[in-house]
Amino acid sequence: MCKIDYLGTGLCPSGPERHFVAYYPQGRMDICDALAGELIPVTEGLLDIADTCTLCGICDRQCHFYTGMRPMTVMRALKDYVAAWRAEGGRATATAEDEVLKELRKIVGREWATNDPAILVTYANDPFPLAAMRMPKYVVLPGSRTDVESIVRLANDRTLPFAIRGNGGSVFGFVFTDGIVLDMNRMRKMEIDPDNWSADVEPGVTSFDLQREAHRRGLRVNAAEPAATVCGNIVCTGTFSTWSNVYGTAADNFLDMEFVDREGGAFHLNDKSIANHFGFERDVLPSPGICTRGLVKLHPMTGDEEGVLVPFADFDEAARFARDLGQRRIGLAVAVLGAHYIANFMSPSKELAARLKQSLPEVLGCEYMVFAVGDRYAREAIKRMAGAVIDQGLFRMLMLGLPRLLDPRWVDLIREYEGTMRPYELLCKSEMRPLLEAVLEPSAETIAEAVDEDLRDFYAALYERPEMTDMVWLNMFRIVSSRMSREKHMLAFLVYVPLDHIDVIKGINEEFRRIADAEGLDNDYGFLTPMDFGKRAILEYDYYIDQTDPAEAAKIARVMRKIGPWLDDLAAKTKGVQWLKYVFSQGCSRKESFLYESLESPLRKEGAPR
C-alpha cells in the first residue's frame, strides 16, 4: 500500500525515483528485519536505502490508516543503526557484478538491475506462512516489452528460473525464485480511450492509479485491491469485486491482453492463431506468460450513484436479498458483508472496530448487511424492497460519529430497547436523524478521536474530504479493504458458489468455521457477491494468523490439508462450486467456463493430446 498515494499525502520520496521495493517503507522494514536476523551485511545499497529515507513521516500516516502501525520507529532505527555503524568506521560490502548482471544491465540500464543483498532480501519473503524465504540472485526492473523478451531469453540461455512481481509485492508465497525476479514497477504507462471504453495499461499500473484516471473522466473500472496491479490481478485471479455483480469477472474485464511467452516471444489473446486461453481447465496451471499490456474495459458512471446498506439479522435473509437484486438487475455493486468487514471498513482504529463488530449484532441486532451501489431508481427500488436502509447520509453520520455511536450510555440504551422494531430499524427511520445528529455529533473531529493524539489533526483533515465517507468512492478504490489485515495476517479463501442454493453457501461457511475453530485459528465470514444475474456468486471466508508464530504456520498447514480435499469433493458433487485455487493463473478465461459445466470435449474423451 505504500506504493500508491491512496490518502493524497504523497509517496515516500525515494520509492517512485528508485522503484525497487527496498526504497519504499515496506522494503526498509524487511531490511531492518534482515539486519536484526543477521541475514545480510551492510552493503552499499543498504546505505543508500537508509540515506534516502528523509523521515518525512508519510509512511506513518499511510500505514496507520490501514494497519494501525507506525513504521517511523523502524525507519528511525534503520537510520540510527547506519549512523552508529559509520561512526564505528564500518565499511560497506560491495557485491561484484557477474556476467548475468552485466547482461541484465545491458538490457534495462545499469540502475535497474542489481544483486545487492539488501535489495534482494526485500524480494525474498512475504507474510504467507507456508512459503520459506528464498533469496533471488538478481532483481531487474524492465522498462518495456522488449526488455521483458530479452530478459526471458537471457534467463533461458543461462537456465535461470524467474518470477514476476507486478508491483514488487507478494502475499501468497507464489513469486519467489532462486533466479531472477522481474519487478514490473517501472512499466506504468496508461492510456485511456473513452471512445473505445478502454484503458491500455502496462503491468506496473495499480488498480488505484487506473481507477483514479478513470474516475477523473467519469468512468469506472472493475478494480482489485488498490495496490494490486491491474494486469497481474486479471491474470492471477480474474479480478472480482462487488462490482462483479454487473461487470463480471475474468475475461469480462478486458478487451485484449499482451503476453511474453516462456521462450521470450510476444502474443496477444485475441490472436486466433494461438492456444485458447479463454477456456478453463480444472487444474493448477501456469499463466499464459508474462503480461506486458492489458486493454481493460471501462464502464460509464451516472451522476446520481450512491451506496446503501441494508441491515439483516441473519445470513439467509441477506443472501436472498442480494440474490434478488442480482436476478432483478437492480443496482451495480452488490455484496453481503458481515459485521467483521463493516466494522473494520468503518473504524479508523482496531479497538473501535472490535467494539463495533460486537455491537452490530448484540446491540443493533444486525449481523449482516447487503451493500449496494445504485442510481436513484435502483436505490428507490431497494428502499421499497427492504424497508430499513442505511443511505449515504446516514452512513456518513454513523461513520463520522462512530466513537459516540459506541458510547457506553448510548449502547446500553439501544441494547435494552425492547420495542417492536429491531434497534437498527428504529435508527434507520428518517425521523430519527435529528436525534442521531445530537447523539453522534458526527464530524471529522469526532472520528479522529479514535486515533493516537498526534495523528488526530491528520485524520480530522482526512475525514473532512467527502470521499472518505462516500460508499461509492470507498468501494471503487477499496482503500479500507486492507484494514482486514490490521489485527492479523489474513488468508482469504475464495469459492464460486451457486446462489440459488443458499444452504450450500451456509454449509461452506460452517465448514470453514469448523475447520478453523478445531485448530483455534481466528476466522470470520468475508463477503458474498452475486454474479451473472444472481445465478452464481463469489464467497470469501477468511482465516487470520500471526505469520510470525511458527505454531500458527503449523496450524495453517494442517487446515490446508483438510480444506483442499473437502472443497474438491464438494465441487465434484455440486454444480456451481469452484475453488479459486483452480482459477488462479487462468484469470483470462471466460467466467462461463468455470462457473458452469462445459460440453465434454470429444477429443479429450478419446484421449487425444491437448
Binding site: A313, G365, P408, R409, W410, D412, L413, E416, Y417, E418, G419, T420, M421, R422, L426, K429, E431, M432, R433, P434, L435, L436, E437, A438, V439
Partner: protein
C-alpha cells in the same frame, strides 16, 4: 409425593437439604439466594461464565454487592453450568454431587425478551431450559420445585385472573406465552415425578423500596433512563455548543432551570401498571416457601396499580424535566411524531399492554400467607420512585454497579 410434609418441615428446619437455584446471577434469583443464605439454607447456585469471568467470580461480585458475610458464603457452592444443556451442563462429579444432594429446586432463570424476533432464545431458556431443569429435578433427590413465573401468564384478557393454571392461547408477547407453556410443563412434570410444586407469579418488579438499590434497570427504569439521557444530551448541547441541535428538536431551557423535552407519550394518564418492589417479592417468596408445603400457585402483585400520569409526574419532578405529556393516539394526527417520541412510543408499544392493564389478579392463596406475617406491598409513590431512581443515577444505571468506571 416423594416426602411427607413432616419430613419436609424437619429437613428444612435443620437446613439439611440443599437447594439448587437457577438464575442466581439475575435480578430475582440473586435476591432470593442472598435471603436464603442469610436464613441458613445451603445452596447449589447454578451460573454460567460470562465473557472473561468465571461463574464463581460473577457470583462473588454479586454477593459482595449484597454484603454477604464470608461465614454465610460457606453455605454456597457455585456450580458452573447452564440450563440450556442436558444435565445442566455440569461435569460428571459435580452433576453426581448435585443429583445426590439437591433437596429442593428454585428455578428463577428465565429470558424476559418480549420481541417476537427473540423467540428462539426465549424458547431456548423458558421451554427447553426449563425442561432440562425438570429433568435434573426428576433424576435428583428433589422433593419440592419452586417455579418463578409471572402474573402475566394470564395472556391477553380482561378481568380477574385466578391463582390456577391458565388455558390461554392469546398472549401479548413471546415471554408471556413461554411462561404459560412453562407452567403447564412444570406442573405435568412435577405431578408425574411426585415432586411438590409452588408457582410464584410476580408482576413487574423494581428495586428495593426501602433502599432504592437494584441490580437491574430495565422495565420501569428504561423510559426514565431514556428521558434522563436525552435531558443530559440536550442540556450539554445548550450549555456547551449553542443549542442548535436542541432547538431543531424543540428542546429548550425554561426560566426555572428545567429542560423542556417535547415528548407526547401514547398513554392514558389514568391507565396503570402493576409494580412490586424486590423486597416485597423476597418477603412474599420466603413466606410462601415456608407455609405452602402442599404446593400451590401464588400471585405476588400489588393491590394498587400505579397510574401512568403519576409516573410521568414523578419523572418531571425528580429530574426537573417539562414537556412529557400523555397523549391519545388520535392527537398525533395533527403533528407527526418527532424522533424522541418515536423512540419512546416504540418502546412503550412493547410495554403498552402492562400500562393499560385490564387484568386484575386474585390474591387469595398469597393473601392468606402474607397477611399472617403482615407482609404488604407498598404503593409506588414519589418517595420510593425518587429513592430508586437516585440509586439508578448513582450507579449510572448499572454501569458503576460493581464499582466500574
Amino acid at each position: 409425593m416423594r416426602i411427607s410434609t413432616g419430613e419436609l418441615k424437619r429437613t428444612r428446619a435443620e437446613r439439611r437439604g440443599r437447594i439448587l437455584l437457577t438464575g442466581g446471577t439475575g435480578f430475582l434469583g440473586s435476591h432470593l439466594a442472598a435471603e436464603l443464605l442469610r436464613s441458613g439454607y445451603r445452596i447449589f447456585l447454578l451460573a454460567r461464565p460470562l465473557k472473561q469471568q468465571r461463574a464463581d467470580e460473577r457470583v462473588a461480585k454479586i454477593l459482595d454487592w449484597f454484603g454477604i458475610e464470608p461465614e454465610v458464603r460457606r453455605n454456597l457452592q457455585v456450580v458452573e453450568g447452564t440450563i440450556e444443556k442436558p444435565g445442566l451442563g455440569l461435569d460428571g462429579d459435580t452433576l453426581s454431587d448435585c443429583l445426590e444432594n439437591t433437596f429442593e429446586v428454585i428455578h428463577c432463570a428465565s429470558n424476559t425478551g418480549f420481541a417476537e424476533r427473540k423467540r428462539p432464545e426465549v424458547e431456548a431458556a423458558n421451554i427447553e431450559g426449563l425442561g432440562n431443569v425438570l429433568e435434573f429435578a426428576s433424576r435428583s433427590n428433589c422433593v419440592f420445585f419452586h417455579h418463578l413465573s409471572t402474573a402475566y401468564v394470564a395472556g391477553r384478557r380482561e378481568g380477574l385472573c385466578r391463582e390456577e393454571l391458565v388455558d390461554a392461547d392469546d398472549f401479548t408477547n413471546v415471554y408471556e406465552e413461554t411462561k404459560a407453556r412453562g407452567e403447564r410443563l412444570v406442573s405435568d412434570h412435577c405431578r408425574a415425578a411426585g415432586i411438590r410444586l409452588n408457582i410464584y407469579r410476580p408482576s413487574i418488579v423494581y428495586g428495593d423500596s426501602r433502599t432504592g438499590r437494584s441490580l437491574l434497570f430495565n422495565a420501569l427504569y428504561y423510559p426514565v433512563k431514556t428521558a434522563v439521557f436525552l435531558k443530559d444530551l440536550y442540556a450539554a448541547d445548550i450549555l456547551k455548543r449553542g443549542g442548535r441541535k436542541a432547538a431543531a428538536m424543540g428542546v429548550r431551557r425554561e426560566s426555572d432551570g428545567s429542560l423542556y423535552l417535547p415528548i407526547r407519550l401514547e398513554v392514558e394518564s389514568a391507565e396503570g401498571i402493576n409494580l412490586i418492589p424486590i423486597d416485597h417479592l423476597v418477603a412474599a417468596f420466603t413466606a410462601i416457601l415456608d407455609d405452602s408445603l402442599e404446593g400451590g400457585i401464588f400471585h405476588v402483585v400489588n393491590a394498587r396499580q400505579t397510574a401512568m400520569g403519576d409516573l410521568i409526574d414523578y419523572t418531571r419532578r425528580l429530574f426537573n424535566i417539562r414537556g412529557i405529556e400523555p397523549c391519545r393516539p388520535e392527537d398525533f394526527g395533527a403533528r407527526p411524531r418527532n424522533a424522541l417520541e418515536i423512540l419512546f412510543n416504540n418502546y412503550l408499544e412493547a410495554y403498552g399492554p402492562y400500562m393499560r392493564d385490564k387484568r386484575t389478579f386474585a390474591m387469595d392463596n398469597a393473601r392468606g400467607i402474607l397477611a399472617k406475617r403482615r407482609i404488604t406491598c407498598p404503593a409506588f409513590d414519589l418517595e420510593i420512585f425518587s429513592r430508586c431512581m437516585n440509586y439508578a443515577v448513582e450507579v449510572d444505571w448499572g454501569a458503576r454497579l460493581f464499582g466500574g468506571a
